[in-house]
Structure formats: structure tokens, C-alpha cells
């Protein structure tokens, strides 16, 4: 069941909570001057807000606040086995933005984080510093993989949504240009692609669009652009020579006639974009740590929360038989129109 923004809920970013340490970063000023109508509240540590236990992430989605903080912990993490690593041994992810303004019913962030407020870490330079250290370490130890790093930078958010107030893209593009040993992946559902057109395409920067049948978008991906608009954005960047991946992930059980719907969906993709130019396609069905699912059930009213999943090793997903059927079906439809060596199943 969807809830919509009512006129008695606050505007997005009506409040900005700023860590006192974050005041030392010019980015903080830049962001607050763009959001000059917001009320500012000073905090000591972002966890005072972000990690409070007694919050309602469901209602917060209607009126998310912004938190500006300095990341003093880890910057780069080893990739999770629930995500695809493209057979790269050095698969990492990082998060300088946490949480998202889109509102997908299946979003694991809603199970993982106690809050739906948006968190920005403003010390981006520390991330680059740490990454350079990691690159050197791997260079010196080529036995660790092929000496290359695959880094997803929009793991815990749809970062492109925020480029207007947190201008990170230029810095990441420059970093990728200067460091060919690292491949950077930005995963998105947004249609905010125009900024890319200011730069020349890079071999080591991949934009992965998550796409779903329009019916699933309407039902389960609230606030996100339509399939049509996403495909339009994709084709624009493909034409300019950018490297684009598609993620048919999560594949969702959208009723008994899901096969028909997925078939139609795959057909429409092949009509709207030149699939030959797509770098890779990943497939995966909905899956989530069981503890996160428990929080879904507490707060959310979507059928995604209550499907009778099966849980193995702490991860809940569709029962094995249905899962294989879903993957096999989508795979077989795709391989009719796309080179199967570039299809990866998560």
C-alpha cells in the first residue's frame, strides 16, 4: 500500500543536521548555500540521528532530512556475496551517500538502516586517499587478482539523484581518468544523465541502469522514472560512447503471468536501445538478509515484505524452484537477443 506525500509533511531536506567537524569542509558550505531554506541543527556525531533505534523509516521517507557528516570509519568495503563481482577478485564498494529519495519496496537499505534520512559524507578527499593506498597495495601484490579493482560507488544510494547538491561526479571522473587500474561502477534508476555529456566517455567508468517492467516500476519503485525514460537516458549515453550495463535485478514475482510480462519487457528493451552496445547484463531475483526482511514486515505494507520466501544461510529469497524458473526464463529470453557471454547471473 502506497502512502503519498501529504500537505502536512515537511519538504524534503527541511532540516539539515550538521556534524560540527563537517563545518571544516568547503563542501558543507556549498551544500547549505544551495539548500538555504533548510533549518540547520548542529550535532556531534551523525549516529545521534541516523542510528537511533526508535525511528519510523516509513514515515521519514515522506520528509527526509539531510545529515552532513565526516566519515571517520572505513571508506572501502569488500563486496558482498549478494552482489555481482563480474568475476573480479578485487570487488569493492564504497558509500559517501547513504539512503535514497526513491522509494523501492524491495530496497535493502530500508531493512539495513534505522533511518531513511539521507546521509552525506563530506570528506570525499579521504576516500580518494584511501583508494590510492589500496591501488598501490594491489599493484605490489599482483597475486591478488589481476591487479585491478572494481569499485561500486552507488551501493547504498542512487547517487546521481544528488549530483545537483553534492557535486561528486567531476571528482570521480577525474579520479577514474587518473587511475586506469580501477573500474568505477555507478548504479542508478535516475534519468539524470546529462552531466555525463560534459565529459568524454571513459573505459573504466560504467553506468549500470536497473530496469524493471513498467508494471513493477509502478507498483514497487515509487518516485522512480518510468522504464521509457530510463531507456531514453540509456540510449543517449550509449550514443555518446559511454559504457552502460543493464541490471535486471531484482527480478520480481509480479503475479501468475510474470513470464508474459517479463517477455514483453525484454522485447521493449530491445526495441528502444541498441543492445549490441550494452557492455553487460546482470540478472538476479529479489534476495535480502532475513533480519532486514523482519524490519520490512514491521514497517511496510508491500506484498514484497510478506511473500513466503525461503531462507538459507540468513538470506531470504524465492523458493528454489520459482527462483530457477525466473532466472532461466529471463536468461533464455535475453540470450535470443543478446550475447550470452556477457550475461551474468547473481
Amino acid at each position: 500500500m502506497k502512502i503519498s506525500k501529504q500537505n502536512y509533511t515537511n519538504e524534503t531536506f527541511s532540516h539539515i543536521y550538521i556534524e560540527k567537524d563537517a563545518l571544516n569542509y568547503p563542501l558543507t558550505n556549498e551544500i547549505t548555500s544551495k539548500l538555504n531554506k533548510s533549518k540547520i541543527v548542529y550535532i556531534d556525531n551523525y549516529n545521534e540521528i541516523f542510528s537511533r533505534k526508535n525511528q519510523n523509516p516509513f514515515l521519514q521517507k515522506l520528509s527526509p532530512s539531510l545529515i552532513l557528516a565526516v566519515n571517520k570509519g572505513d571508506f572501502i568495503y569488500k563486496g558482498s556475496p549478494l552482489c555481482h563481482d563480474f568475476e573480479q577478485q578485487n570487488f569493492y564498494y564504497t558509500n559517501f551517500i547513504v539512503n535514497c529519495l526513491f522509494d523501492c519496496d524491495y530496497c535493502y537499505l530500508k531493512g539495513m538502516n534505522f533511518s531513511s534520512h539521507i546521509l552525506f559524507f563530506v570528506n570525499l578527499s579521504d576516500y580518494f586517499h584511501e583508494l590510492s593506498r589500496l591501488i598501490n597495495e594491489i599493484k605490489e601484490r599482483p597475486e591478488r587478482g589481476q591487479g585491478k579493482i572494481y569499485l561500486s560507488i552507488s551501493y547504498d544510494s542512487d547517487i546521481l539523484l544528488f549530483e545537483g547538491i553534492y557535486p561528486f561526479l567531476k571528482e570521480w571522473i577525474e579520479f577514474a581518468e587518473a587511475n586506469p587500474l580501477i573500474t568505477i561502477e555507478i548504479r542508478t534508476k535516475s534519468t539524470n544523465y546529462k552531466k555525463f555529456l560534459n565529459y568524454s566517455p571513459l573505459e573504466n567508468l560504467i553506468i549500470t541502469w536497473s530496469i524493471s517492467p513498467q508494471e513493477a516500476i509502478e507498483k514497487y519503485e515509487k518516485n522512480t522514472p518510468s522504464l521509457e525514460r530510463r531507456l531514453m537516458a540509456i540510449s543517449q549515453l550509449l550514443q555518446k560512447g559511454w559504457k552502460v550495463n543493464l541490471a535486471l535485478d531484482p527480478i520480481l514475482y509480479i503475479g501468475e503471468n510474470w513470464q508474459e510480462k517479463y517477455k514483453e519487457f525484454i522485447n521493449s528493451i530491445s526495441k528502444k536501445i541498441n543492445l549490441k552496445k550494452i557492455n553487460a547484463i546482470t540478472l538476479g531475483v529479489f534476495r535480502i538478509p532475513v533480519d532486514y526482511l523482519k524490519r520490512f514486515k514491521k514497517f511496510f505494507k508491500s506484498p514484497i515484505a510478506f511473500f513466503p520466501y525461503q531462507t538459507t544461510n540468513g538470506v531470504s529469497t524465492y523458493p528454489e524452484e520459482l527462483k530457477s524458473k525466473m532466472i532461466e526464463f529471463v536468461y533464455s529470453e535475453l540470450e535470443k537477443i543478446y550475447n550470452k557471454t556477457n550475461i551474468y547471473v547473481v
Binding site: M1, E11, N54, Q55, S63, K301, P303, P308
Partner: protein, 278 residues
């Protein structure tokens, strides 16, 4: 339900009248209530505020009421020039001055009130630092306890500035008439804010309502479901409701059906689940 905690009788006087609350108890705290609101007079200081808050909210958890909210309402001093005497302030940050603990209201509701921060103290002394905008003697204790019962977006502190605190001058004693008038002047603003909060809270209702829980319980008893089966039934029920947007009232057919064996019960249960997951 709106829960109001005020330190002194005089701070509550205008509210009690405005809401037409009736006195219910004298001890351990003076309390007043009607159908929509409960009010407690805690007495001055953090210990009193904590005790009274917990006394007032003790039943809300049991009732699982997402529409409940609590407000600490009263007067406060101002520590800087951001606010004037007579201002009504919605507090967005509460600091316990002695414990150095901080609490933040989750302000999801759109409002026209001024916002500021407050520090709560036990006693004013010469080394006292002015760190926030306002000062009082209860709000941190109220917030700490109220947010154990309720989510943070259900806990608010509303203060009316009664005087300016300065390091060099002793505090003036405020008359009852003066306090009563301060509060009286802000009643409309206070209660238009509470209406907004109440509308926001109505947006969140858990998927299984009381009526749903009763149906589940009844079936679980007649069919003699195991604990795990009852949990499964709850999930399947929620799935049906989330998909179809209505409760599966056809379950009432099972109200009078008593299975003759475990085997039969299990078969009925599987059949029922299939229907709910369809």
C-alpha cells in the same frame, strides 16, 4: 491520544481549560484527561519529569497505538538573542546539560513555529555555559523517557520563552498571572500544531489492525494451530491484505470448523495458506 507533561500547575491551567480536561488522580502525580488528551503535572526538575512521563505513557506500548504522541509543554528561559519573551518554540534539539546527552526531535510535520535548541539543567551555577538557545529543567528527562515508549517523531518539546537568562543577574520570580497569560496567548498555535502531528501519525498504521488480529486469533484457536502455524497465518494474511488492499474476510468460514485430527488440521491450514497467497 495526546499526552502532555507540564512541570507546574500554572503552566497547565490554560491547557486544562482549553481542552476541557477533567481531573482523574492526585497521586503520585496530578493528572487530567478527556477522550483525546491526558495531562500530567510532574513537578519541577528532571527526576519528576522522568517519573511523570513514564507514569503517563505506561499503557501506550501495550495498545500499540501509532497515533499516540507526547509533548512537554511549559515555559523556559532564553540564553541568547534568537528568541524573545513570549515566543513559542518547537525544540529540535534537547541537551542534558549534566549528562551531556543529546536528543533530537524528528520533525516530519510541516509547521510555522520557530525552532530552537534547549539545554536542561539541574541547577544554575556560576560556571554554567550557555550552549544552546534555551534552558529549562525538564525536557531532557522527558525526552529520554518518552522516546523509550514512542518513536522519536511522536515526541515533542514545546516551550514558551518567559524570561531572558543572564550570567550576572539573578532570575526574577515570575508571577502566576504572567505565566498563565503567556500560555493562554499561544493556545491556538499549540493546538494547530498538535492537529498536524495527529494527521501525520494517522498515515502510519500497521498492516494488521485489531480486527485482523482478532480473526487470526479466532482461527488459530478453532483450528488448534501451532505457534509456528499461527505466525505463518499472520504472514499470509498480511500478504493477502497488502496485495488486495482488503482483509481476507472469507476466513470467517473457518470460524466454526473443528478438525478431527492433526492431519486434517494441517491439510486445512495448507489449503487456507494457498488461498491467501494467491
Amino acid at each position: 491520544m495526546l499526552y502532555i507533561i507540564s512541570a507546574m500547575g500554572i503552566e497547565a491551567r490554560a491547557i486544562i481549560k482549553y481542552l476541557n480536561l477533567k481531573k482523574t488522580t492526585d497521586r503520585p502525580f496530578e493528572t487530567y484527561q478527556n477522550e483525546e488528551a491526558h495531562l500530567v503535572i510532574s513537578g519541577v526538575g528532571k527526576i519528576n519529569a522522568a517519573g511523570a512521563t513514564s507514569y503517563l505513557l505506561k499503557d501506550t506500548l501495550k495498545d500499540l497505538n501509532h497515533s499516540d504522541y507526547a509533548i512537554n509543554l511549559g515555559i523556559c528561559g532564553s540564553l541568547n538573542n534568537k528568541f524573545n519573551v513570549g515566543d513559542l518554540v518547537l525544540v529540535n534539539k534537547v541537551v542534558d546539560y549534566e549528562k551531556k546527552r543529546k536528543y533530537y526531535t524528528d520533525i516530519l510535520v510541516k509547521h510555522n513555529l520557530k525552532e530552537g535548541s534547549i539545554q536542561s539543567i539541574d541547577t544554575l551555577h556560576s560556571n554554567y555555559e550557555f550552549e544552546e538557545d534555551l534552558v529549562d529543567m525538564e525536557s531532557s528527562a522527558f525526552f529520554e523517557i518518552a522516546s523509550k515508549f514512542l518513536s522519536v517523531h511522536q515526541v515533542y518539546v514545546l516551550k514558551i520563552v518567559s524570561d531572558k537568562v543572564s550570567k550576572n543577574q539573578p532570575l526574577e520570580r515570575l508571577t502566576n498571572k504572567y505565566i498563565d497569560e503567556l500560555i493562554y496567548d499561544k493556545l491556538e498555535e499549540i493546538f494547530s500544531f498538535t492537529k498536524l502531528v495527529s494527521s501525520l501519525l494517522k498515515l502510519f498504521q500497521p498492516i494488521l489492525q485489531q480486527q485482523d488480529e482478532e480473526i487470526i486469533k479466532k482461527i488459530s484457536i478453532t483450528l488448534k494451530l501451532t505457534f509456528s502455524q499461527t505466525k505463518q497465518l499472520e504472514n499470509a494474511y498480511a500478504y493477502f491484505k497488502s496485495n488486495k488492499k482488503v482483509s481476507p474476510l472469507f476466513l470467517e468460514e473457518y470460524f466454526n470448523y473443528i478438525p478431527k485430527s492433526k492431519k486434517e488440521r494441517d491439510a486445512i491450514f495448507e489449503d487456507l495458506k494457498t488461498k491467501l497467497y494467491k
